[in-house]
C-alpha cells in the first residue's frame, strides 16, 4: 500500500470540500473493493475520504410505492430490515446473498452501485427496480447510470447519496454464484410492475443491463413457461476462467426462469 491522507468528514459538506481540494482523492464507503485494490497497489489515491461518519447517508425510508436507501447503508442492514423484508422482500434477499457476513457487515449499497463491478449483485436491483440514483448534485435514472465495466455516469467530484427503488408488484433475484467469492457468474432480477416487467442481468456482460427480449415475453405473460424457447445471444457477454460467453448466455435463461418461479411462489 502506498501512503495517502485519510479523512473522515462529519458532514457531506465537509466531504465535498475535501474532494474539491485534493489532487486525486477517492471516496471510500465499505472499502470492499478499494482497500484490496490499494493493498495490491492497483490504486494509488492521494487522499481517502471515508464517509462512514455521515449518518445522513445511512438508513431506509419507506414512502409507499418508493423506498429510499442511503448510500452508506450496509448490506446486512438491508438484508435484516423489517421494512425492506415486508415492502420489497426480493431486495432484502439479494442483499443477504452478497459475499459473506464479513462483507455484508462492511459493504454498502452506494459503494457497490458506484463501483459498477460487472459481477456485483446490487446493479441488477437498481435496473430491475427502476431506481433513481441520487447524488449531491442531481438525480440519475438507473437506465442511464451504468455506462461500462467499473464505469458509471458519476463525475469525479460527485458523491452518491442514496438510491430510490420503485416497489414492484412482485420480484425475485436468482444468481449462479461463483462458489468461492459469491460474486454472480450470472444474476437475473425480474420485477413485475403495473406497466410491465423489467429484467436486469448482472455478471454476464461488462456491466449490468436490461434484457429487452425477456421483458417483452414476461410483460405478456409473467410465468417461467413464457421464457421457453427463447434463446439469449452470447454476443457481447464475458468469457473468462469462470464461464464462457455461451455458458453465461445459457445461464441468463436459467436464472430468469428461476427468478420468475421464485417471484410467483
Amino acid at each position: 500500500m502506498y501512503d495517502f491522507n485519510y479523512h473522515r468528514p462529519a458532514s457531506l459538506k465537509d466531504a465535498k470540500k475535501i474532494l474539491a481540494g485534493a489532487s486525486d482523492a477517492k471516496i471510500v464507503a465499505g472499502g470492499m473493493t478499494l482497500l484490496p485494490a490499494m493493498k495490491f497497489r492497483l490504486a494509488r489515491p492521494s487522499d481517502l475520504i471515508d464517509l462512514s461518519e455521515l449518518t445522513e447517508l445511512r438508513g431506509i425510508r419507506d414512502a409507499g410505492d418508493k423506498m429510499e436507501v442511503g448510500a452508506m447503508t450496509r448490506h446486512a442492514e438491508v438484508a435484516g430490515s423489517d421494512v425492506v423484508r415486508s415492502r420489497i422482500p426480493a431486495l432484502a434477499a439479494l442483499a443477504m446473498g452478497i459475499g459473506d457476513p464479513q462483507v455484508r457487515n462492511r459493504g454498502t449499497l452506494g459503494g457497490s452501485v458506484a463501483n459498477s463491478d460487472p459481477a456485483a449483485d446490487y446493479p441488477a436491483a437498481v435496473l430491475a427496480l427502476d431506481a433513481v440514483i441520487r447524488t449531491d448534485k442531481r438525480e440519475i435514472p438507473a437506465d442511464r447510470f451504468f455506462t461500462g465495466m467499473f464505469e458509471t455516469a458519476l463525475t469525479t467530484d460527485e458523491i452518491l447519496t442514496s438510491v430510490v427503488f420503485a416497489r414492484p408488484k412482485r420480484a425475485a433475484y436468482a444468481k449462479f454464484p461463483n462458489p468461492a467469492s459469491r460474486y454472480a457468474v450470472v444474476g437475473v432480477m425480474v420485477a413485475e410492475f403495473a406497466t410491465g416487467t423489467r429484467v436486469a442481468v448482472t455478471g454476464a456482460g461488462p456491466r449490468a443491463f436490461r434484457a429487452a427480449q425477456l421483458e417483452r415475453a414476461l410483460s405478456a405473460d409473467f410465468s417461467a413457461a413464457a421464457l421457453d424457447g427463447l434463446h439469449f445471444e452470447a454476443d457481447d457477454l464475458n468469457s473468462d476462467l469462470h464461464a464462457s460467453a455461451e455458458y453465461r448466455a445459457h445461464l441468463v435463461g436459467v436464472m430468469a426462469r428461476r427468478a420468475v418461479a421464485a417471484a410467483c411462489a
Partner: protein
C-alpha cells in the same frame, strides 16, 4: 478495513475472549470437539461463531454453515467446527 477506521471503537480479538485463565465456552467447545487441526483459522472461526450466537443464540447446522462462508479452513472439512459451534452455543445458553 484500515486500523485507523477503528479509532474510538472497542476491538475484541481472540486474545480477549478467555477470562481469568479460563477458556470461553466457545473455545472449550472447539477443544472438546476437536474443531481445529493446524489452528490457523481458529481465531477467526471462534470470533465468527461468537458473532453468530449474538444474532442467533440457538443456530441450526445450516445457519452455522452459512455464517462461516467467509472463514476458510483447509484441514478439518468443517464437520467438527460445526459441531463445536453448536455445542459452544448450547454451553453459552446454559
Amino acid at each position: 478495513m484500515l486500523a485507523v477506521q477503528a479509532q474510538g471503537a472497542a476491538v475484541l480479538t481472540i486474545e480477549g475472549v478467555a477470562k481469568n485463565g479460563e477458556l470461553h465456552p466457545m473455545q472449550q467447545a472447539f477443544h472438546e470437539h476437536h474443531g481445529l487441526q493446524c489452528g490457523f483459522c481458529t481465531p477467526g472461526m471462534i470470533m465468527s461463531a461468537l458473532d453468530l450466537v449474538r444474532h442467533s443464540p440457538d443456530p441450526d447446522e445450516h445457519e452455522i454453515r452459512e455464517w462461516l462462508e467467509g472463514n476458510l479452513c483447509r484441514c478439518t472439512g468443517y464437520q467438527n467446527i460445526v459441531r463445536a459451534i453448536s455445542a459452544g452455543a448450547k454451553a453459552m445458553r446454559n
